[in-house]
């Protein structure tokens, strides 16, 4: 029997979908290993209050480390706390969400433990003695299936791929106060510029509305913003590199090879040609819609649904139809 640990990231006192997915994966692997899933939450004093909800997604035990220095992420504070918990637990695997935080933290933890890690996992087979995982390589142009010979195996899982489990049980919350000495930190965050209230990041949104050079002018983004608002919450704007490089949109919105990889349930590509480097970032979206006036644009090769036409005609109509649909719900 072997237990599995999930690192359940909290951000601004909220446990997001990617953290719940990590707990769900831990629960699945633990079940196949005859053990339990544990979750680890780190944050400032009081963060234990949000941790109980992790029981409902599969965590038998929720360990919560509370300390002022853990309120906001700093790897100098987090790594040792996480490593200590892992060492104490004899886990078969440790699962991180492949978020910005997870991608920063997990490799440091693996290196400290002297175990390899596998990033951005999209499938796991825990039935055998050796953990077998699948992950995209070459920007999603191929998938590698790998045997991981390590104990624990450190994994990060791609957001939006795994389902969070649902069960009607509460996890046992165990709070602890780790020793953290901020005077030893070699780096510090001097300024945080948070996103606007309620704005979701393109890498985490369940629906993405992306615009490309076909939008013609940054002022026209109001058309995409209107579509985003009509689609409801959990919708983010994305962009092609062409418009980011032109300074029309911030780099944080860029989707693709040198931007973000997204796997939303619905992706709109508006005025985007569909260059291979753009596809690298969005080809695993569940449903892809393309709006482009060029019927030969490569984006139609990956789109599930396409409209050939002038986006300036199509967008307002699309926004009003979707708004009407949602208000009728």
């Amino acid at each position: 029997m072997a237990n599995v640990l999930a690192f359940a990231e909290q951000r601004d006192g909220q446990i997001g979908a990617s953290a719940r997915e990590a707990v769900g994966v831990a629960a699945t692997v633990a079940a196949a290993s005859g053990g339990d899933a544990h979750a680890l939450v780190l944050g400032g004093p009081g963060v234990a209050g949000i941790a109980g909800s992790l029981g409902a997604v599969g965590a038998e035990v929720v360990a919560v480390g509370e300390h002022d220095a853990l309120a906001e992420y700093n790897p100098e504070a987090y790594v040792d706390v996480v490593v200590d918990r892992i060492r104490a637990g004899e886990y078969r695997a440790v699962v991180f969400p492949a978020t910005t935080l997870g991608k920063d933290l997990a490799p440091r933890v693996a290196a400290k433990l002297d175990v390899p890690m596998v990033s951005d996992v999209t499938a796991i087979d825990a039935s055998g003695a050796m953990l077998v995982v699948t992950r995209p390589v070459y920007s999603g142009k191929a998938f590698a299936t790998l045997e991981v010979e390590a104990s624990p195996a450190v994994l990060s899982i791609r957001p939006n791929v795994f389902q969070a489990a649902v069960r009607s049980a509460a996890g046992a919350v165990e709070s602890f106060v780790p020793t953290v000495d901020p005077s030893t930190f070699r780096m510090r965050v001097v300024e945080r510029r948070a996103a606007a209230e309620g704005k979701v990041d393109v890498s985490e949104a369940s629906v993405v509305v992306s615009g490309g050079r076909g939008m013609k002018d940054p002022a026209n983004w109001q058309l995409l913003e209107q579509l985003r608002d009509a689609l409801g919450p959990d919708v983010a704007l994305g962009a092609s590199r062409a418009v980011v490089d032109a300074g029309w949109r911030p780099h944080g919105e860029q989707v693709g090879q040198t931007g973000k990889t997204v796997a939303p349930k619905l992706y709109f590509a508006v005025g985007i040609s569909g260059a291979i480097q753009h596809l690298a970032g969005m080809r695993t979206a569940k449903t892809i819609v393309a709006i482009n006036r060029d019927a030969d644009a490569p984006i139609f090769g990956v789109a599930d649904y396409g409209i050939v036409g002038d986006l300036f005609d199509v967008l307002p109509r699309l926004t009003s139809e979707i708004a009407a649909l949602r208000s009728g719900d």
Binding site: P75, E76, T100, L101, A106, P107, R108, A110, A111, K112, D114, V115, P116, M117, S119, D120, V132, Y138, S139, G140, K141, A142, F143, T145, L146, E147, E149, A150, R186, M187, V189, V190, E191, R193, A194, A195, V200, E204, V207, H251, G252, Q257, T258, L266, Q277, K286, I288, F300, G301, V302, D304, Y305, G306, I307, D313, R317, E321, I322, L325, R326
Partner: protein, 267 residues
């Protein structure tokens, strides 16, 4: 082209601590490349594929060169773990303006920690205050080698850095996080993992290409540890189901909305 400075026995061991930078660069298939799995089912078919410096590594080289140019001093060294073909990639970086290069010959497959150990074995002997990495290599996409090297060498490390400035032994980094950004200050020596920033990597000019031929490129065997992540199979992604053009112009919108709602269950 050593600008009259004394040659050093160890390329990574440099006298002027302040401004020397080592950039880890990897040779990867060009981003345009179509990736096909070969008959063995465990490797890609390399025929017809062009290779290049991994895109984020090119941003890191550009950042290092700009830093050197702004300071008017210092040395930019490139470090690669790879096979002999990586010489070509390193020459390209030298042609962009880097001063010297080291090629560690060896292979570690998809085990990021094994790669990190091989690089750390070399970097650990250097007192260059700044090591730069790309945030991720465009073949393995692991996003782990930089922070792993930093951890192995006990250096602080900032990831996702789009721009940075060095002053008074400290680096101020601009870093992207979900839906926002932050400024992070880190003391030297440090490791930075570079993401796409405002400065497009330069193309090598003919003069740079000529100069690169004379720049030092040292080659030596990597210290490779056993790989603990083993490739079972490599597969091409499942083909997306054939899509369809719903119609032309705004008149196609109602049908699109109906399909999204009833067929795709996406609204």
């Amino acid at each position: 082209m050593l600008s009259g400075r004394r040659r050093r026995t160890c390329i990574l061991d440099s006298g002027e601590r302040e401004l020397n930078v080592i950039v880890c660069v990897k040779r990867v298939p060009d981003t345009e490349a179509r990736i096909r799995v070969d008959a063995t089912g465990s490797a890609i078919d390399g025929s017809g594929i062009k290779f290049d410096i991994s895109p984020y590594d090119a941003f890191a080289v550009e950042a290092a060169l700009r830093m050197k140019e702004a300071a008017g001093a210092g040395e930019v060294t490139l470090l690669t773990l790879g096979d002999a073909a990586s010489q070509e990639t390193l020459r390209k970086g030298l042609a962009m303006g880097a001063d010297r290069a080291v090629l560690l010959t060896g292979s570690v497959g998809l085990d990021g920690l094994a790669t990190a150990k091989a690089l750390a074995a070399e970097l650990g002997a250097s007192d260059a205050p700044l090591f730069l990495f790309g945030v991720k290599a465009a073949d393995d996409d692991q996003q782990q080698v930089g922070p792993m090297v930093a951890t192995l060498l006990d250096r602080p490390c900032v990831t996702g850095v789009s721009t940075f400035e060095v002053a008074d032994g400290r680096v101020l980094c601009q870093r992207e996080v979900e839906g926002g950004s932050e400024s992070v200050e880190v003391g030297l020596p440090a490791v930075l993992c570079i993401t796409k920033g405002p400065n497009e990597p330069r193309l090598a000019a003919l003069k740079g290409i000529m100069a690169a031929k004379k720049k030092p490129l040292e080659e030596k065997a990597a210290q490779v540890v056993e790989t603990r992540v083993r490739l079972r199979t490599l597969a091409e992604p499942p083909a997306r189901p054939e899509g369809r053009i719903v119609g032309e112009g705004a008149d196609a919108v109602p049908e699109l909305v109906r399909l999204l709602r009833e067929e795709a269950n996406a609204l």
